[in-house]
């Protein structure tokens, strides 16, 4: 009783020697050979290097992928507007005066009505034949002021 009260009050509490020996024996790690230690360290370093390389590769491919996506998107955004401008400049401008107006529609309409040779390029609605629908398409393009396609009342 007196020993317990002394031990509780002091800082240098010590286990019995026999218990200390048993605990040490239970937790004592076996000695690791230096070669094995070196081998483990080397393989750990190699594994870390691989992981590092892989992470860098992923980062770079993400960067390259993003750049490629931006380039592709830019091309897709710019290319249609460019080609549609070309498309508008060419399609329907039958008399090649640089604009689509009623004279273009008239040229096609007259050729159809007189049985003259029809230029396949006049198939502006791409239905495979040059007919009144193409004339109306050109007429509609000539009077379009709101930007809505096929908004024109056919003649």
């Amino acid at each position: 009783m007196t020993d317990d009260s002394e031990n509780q009050g002091s800082d240098d509490f010590e286990l019995p020697q026999s218990l200390r020996d048993k605990l040490k024996a239970a937790h004592e790690s076996p000695p690791v050979p230096a070669e094995l230690s070196a081998h483990l360290l080397a393989s750990a370093k190699a594994s870390y290097a691989i992981r590092l390389r892989r992470r860098r590769m992923i980062r770079w491919s993400a960067l390259v992928g993003s750049a490629a996506a931006i380039i592709v998107l830019s091309i897709l955004l710019l290319l249609p507007s460019h080609s549609s401008r070309q498309h508008l400049a060419q399609i329907g401008d039958v008399n090649r005066d640089g604009r689509v107006d009623i004279l273009d529609a008239y040229v096609v309409a007259k050729a159809i009505s007189t049985g003259a040779k029809l230029d396949p390029a006049w198939d502006v609605n791409h239905d495979g034949i040059v007919n009144q629908k193409d004339v109306d398409w050109i007429g509609a393009a000539a009077v379009n002021v709101t930007g809505n396609s096929n908004g024109a009342s056919p003649q």
Partner: protein
């Protein structure tokens, strides 16, 4: 049945009340009138085969409500126009004729039907974009717009 009868009377009352309301709305727009304006192209001595004009209502409470062809047989068909622009203040109209006998001089090519919302006379700006002869080539011409005189075709 006793519940349905008052409901029927209530509905009849509502219907009876709404009809005079609708007629009152129309009656409270005093200055609204409809008018027709003719689009004329003067191609001089050259036969006119095609035309394209831009028309802008520069001032006045004007709303385009319809476009018709002319009483001139060569341009009797309604012209091309952007139907989305019909309620706008500006429109492009265009037409061509494949008739054997094409008109010369001042030709009425189309008639605009407009709703005028005030007593002020509408101020039109008309510009000829192109006029063409029978060969499809551009010809010199002038365009004008005047209030329609005479009967408007139904």
């Amino acid at each position: 049945m006793k519940r349905i009868v008052p409901l029927i009377f209530l509905m009849l009352g509502l219907l009876g009340g709404s009809a005079p309301e609708a007629s009152r709305i129309n009656a409270t727009q005093p200055n609204v009138r409809f008018a027709a304006f003719d689009v004329l192209i003067d191609s001089g001595k050259t036969p006119l085969a095609a035309y394209q004009v831009k028309i802008v209502a520069a001032s006045g409470d004007v709303t385009l409500v319809g476009i018709e062809g002319s009483d001139q047989p060569a341009f009797a068909t309604a012209p091309y126009y952007d139907k989305h622009a019909i309620l706008n203040k500006q429109i492009i109209i265009a037409g061509y004729s494949l008739a054997g006998s094409l008109p010369t001089g001042k030709t009425r090519v189309a008639t605009l039907m407009v709703q005028i919302g005030s007593s002020t006379k509408p101020d039109w700006r008309i510009s000829l974009q192109v006029a063409g002869g029978a060969d499809g080539k551009q010809i010199p011409a002038t365009a004008s717009i005047v209030e329609h005189s005479g009967e408007i075709r139904p």
